[in-house]
Symmetry: C3
Subunit: 277 residues, 3 copies
Amino acid sequence: MAQPRLITLTTDFGLNDHFIGTIKAVLLGIVPEATIVDICHSVQAFDVLDGALTISQAYSYFPSGTIHMVIVDPGVGTARRPIILTAERYHFVAPDNGVLSMIYDREERLSVRHVTAEHYYLQPVSNTFHARDIFAPIVGYLAKGVDPDRFGDEITDYVRFAAPRPKPVDGNTIRGVVLKVDRFGNMITNITQHDAPQLFQPEPPPFKIVVGKKEITQIHTAYAQGAPGELFGILGSMGYLEIAANRGAAAQVVGVGKGTDVSVTLEGAAAERAVTT
Amino acid sequence: MAQPRLITLTTDFGLNDHFIGTIKAVLLGIVPEATIVDICHSVQAFDVLDGALTISQAYSYFPSGTIHMVIVDPGVGTARRPIILTAERYHFVAPDNGVLSMIYDREERLSVRHVTAEHYYLQPVSNTFHARDIFAPIVGYLAKGVDPDRFGDEITDYVRFAAPRPKPVDGNTIRGVVLKVDRFGNMITNITQHDAPQLFQPEPPPFKIVVGKKEITQIHTAYAQGAPGELFGILGSMGYLEIAANRGAAAQVVGVGKGTDVSVTLEGAAAERAVTT
Amino acid sequence: MAQPRLITLTTDFGLNDHFIGTIKAVLLGIVPEATIVDICHSVQAFDVLDGALTISQAYSYFPSGTIHMVIVDPGVGTARRPIILTAERYHFVAPDNGVLSMIYDREERLSVRHVTAEHYYLQPVSNTFHARDIFAPIVGYLAKGVDPDRFGDEITDYVRFAAPRPKPVDGNTIRGVVLKVDRFGNMITNITQHDAPQLFQPEPPPFKIVVGKKEITQIHTAYAQGAPGELFGILGSMGYLEIAANRGAAAQVVGVGKGTDVSVTLEGAAAERAVTT
C-alpha cells in the first residue's frame, strides 16, 4: 500500500454546523499534506445502515491507500469501540457499531483492530464529539504513516449486521425494500441484477414491479427513455434496481420513500420454470 | 495555457448522496495532484439553463488553465454527445445539451470536440452515471496533460440555446424574467446595465419596476440602504438587476420566484425620446 | 508564525449559488498552493452573532498560521471597514461588524488593522459581493506572505458586542438562552460549566432545567444514556450545556428553537449557600 495521503469523510454531521470544519482542522494539524474528500455528510442522523450503504457505494473508486473515515455514531461516549479495518487497498476508521458491515461483505482479506492507543487522542477527550477527539487523530496518524498495529490489537468479534436482502415470496415473486431515495427522487432498491437477472435482459419476460400503489411494467436503460410521468425500472449505477421517472421524482409520484416494500413478479420466470419442469 | 491542475465541478447532483465523492475519487485516481473546487452542486435538477447560468457566473474568476466540469445531464445514457470546449483560458467538459450556451456567448476563440476516445472511460460504463464513468475520466486525463485533440474531432453543430433576453414591450418598457433566487432571497433578473442604462445612473429618471403585484421605485447601491421591509432594485455582482430587501428575502416579500416576469418602465426614457424627436 | 497556507471560510452564503466557488477562484488565483477548508456556509443569513459563534467553535483546532475568513456582512457596500485581526496563532479577515467578537473575548495578544490598501482589491469592486472583490484578495495576499501592516493602520475602535451571557434570576436560578440548534436537534445553550459547576459534578445536587414547557432533571455524560423520548442535559463538546435526546431531536420534542430562554435551578446551590451563611 502506498503512503496514504488521501482521506475521505462519510458522516451524518450535516453541513449546518462547524463539525466537519473542526474535524478537518484536526486532520490537517497532524498531516498538513493530506487531501481530504467529502463523500457525504447527509447520512440520515443516527442511521448506521444508511452510513453503511453510502460508504459502500463510493469507497472502491478511490485510489489504493485511501483512508476512509466513517462516522455515524449514536453511541458516542459509551463503551462501543473505535476500530481500524484494513482491507487490501484501503483503511477504514469508524465506531464498531456495524457501519462497516457492507465492507466486511465485499472485502476478502481484512483485519480489524480495536484502537486502544489513547496517547494519539486529542486531550481532553469530550464525551460527545469523538470524531474530533478520537477518530480524526487515528486517521491523521494513520495517514502520517503510523502502522495499524500500533493502535491496538486485532479483534474478530466486531459488530456486523446483515444488510437487508430481497426474499422470495413465492416461485415467481421476490420482495425487497427501498434502501434510499436519491437527489433526483429515484428509489434505490436492494434488488440486484443477480436477484432478478431476467428483468435486465434485452427482452425480459412479462413482469410487474409493485411499489406503494403503483404497478410498473417497463424497464428502460436510460432515464430519458421514460415517457412524461411514466414510472419505470432501471439498473442503477451501483447495480441495484431503481424505480425512476424521466426528469421527475419517482418517489413523489409513488408517494412513498425509504423503507417501502418493492416486489418483483416475473411471470416469465414461473412460465420458464414450468416449462423446464 | 499552463499545465492544468485546477478542476471545478458544477452539477445538479446535490450533496445528499455519494455522487460527488465518487466523481472526485475517479478524478484523483487519474490525477492525484489535482485541486478540485466545487462551484455548486445545487443546480436545479435536470435544469440545463440553471446550470448554464451558474457556470457563467463563476468560471472567469478562475486562473488560466482551469478545467470546468459541468454536469446537468437529463439525457444520460442516450446519444447526446460528451464534449470538450476549449476557450482561450479554460477547458469545459460537459454533455452536449446546451449547458455551455452562455460560455459560447461570452468566449470568442473556441473549439468544441465530440469525445469519442472511449478507451479513456471507466469500464464498464453504466447507463446512469456518466459523470463517474465518462466525464470524470475525460477531465482527469485532460488535467494530466492529454491534448484535447486526442479525445475526438472538432464539431460545429453543438447544441446552443439562446439565453432568455429582456424584450421591449413599448417605447419605455422592457420585460425580463427572474433567472434565479439566491440564498438571501434576492431575485436575479436577466436585465443588465446595458438593457436599461438610465436605471443605474446616479440620478435615474422616474421609473417603476413591476414584479408580481409589487411596484418598485427605488434603486440602491448597497443592500443596507434599504428601509426595513422595502423592496428595491440593485445592480448585482454579475451585472444583472436584482430585486432585493435589506436583511430580508425579497422573493418572500413579493411571493413569487424563478421564472416570474419583471418589467422596467423608464418614464424618463420616453420623455427624453419625446423631446429628442 | 509559519508561512500561512491554510485558509478557512465561515460565511452565510449557503451552497446553493456560485458564491463560494467564486471566492475560492479568487483565492487560488492569488495563492494556488493554498489549502482551503470550509468551516460552515450555513451561518444564518445576516446573523452576525451566529457567525461569531460558529468561528469561535472551530478556529482553535486549526494549525498555527491558518487564516480564517469570516463573512457575514449585511452592511456590504457601506462604510463598515474590512479588518485583519492578528492573534498569536491566527489571522482573521472579516467586516468590522462584530462577527469577531468572540475571538476578541478569547484571544489575549491581538492587533486589529483597518484595511485601506485598495490596490490589492479585485477591480472593479462591486457593491454587493465584497467577499469576492475585497476580502478574498486580502486573504489571498496575506496567505502569499504579505505582512499585515502593509494592508492598513492599526485601530482600537473596532466593533465588539457582548455575547449573551446567562444571568442570575435569584439565589439558585440562572437564566440563559439557546444559542443554536445543531444538526441532531441538540439545543446548545450559553450556559457553561463555569456558570453552573455543580450541575456537571458526578453527583449533582437536585436541580431542574426549564426550557419551553419542559422540565429536565437528568444530566447524562453520553447521548446514548438517555431513555427513549427522554430529555436531558449534557456538557457539549464546546463546553456549553446542551439539551439533548438519545437518537432524537430535542428541539422538536420541546417545540422551540434558537433564542429560547433556558433556566437552571440548583436547589443544592441554594441549600449549600443557606448552610454557609
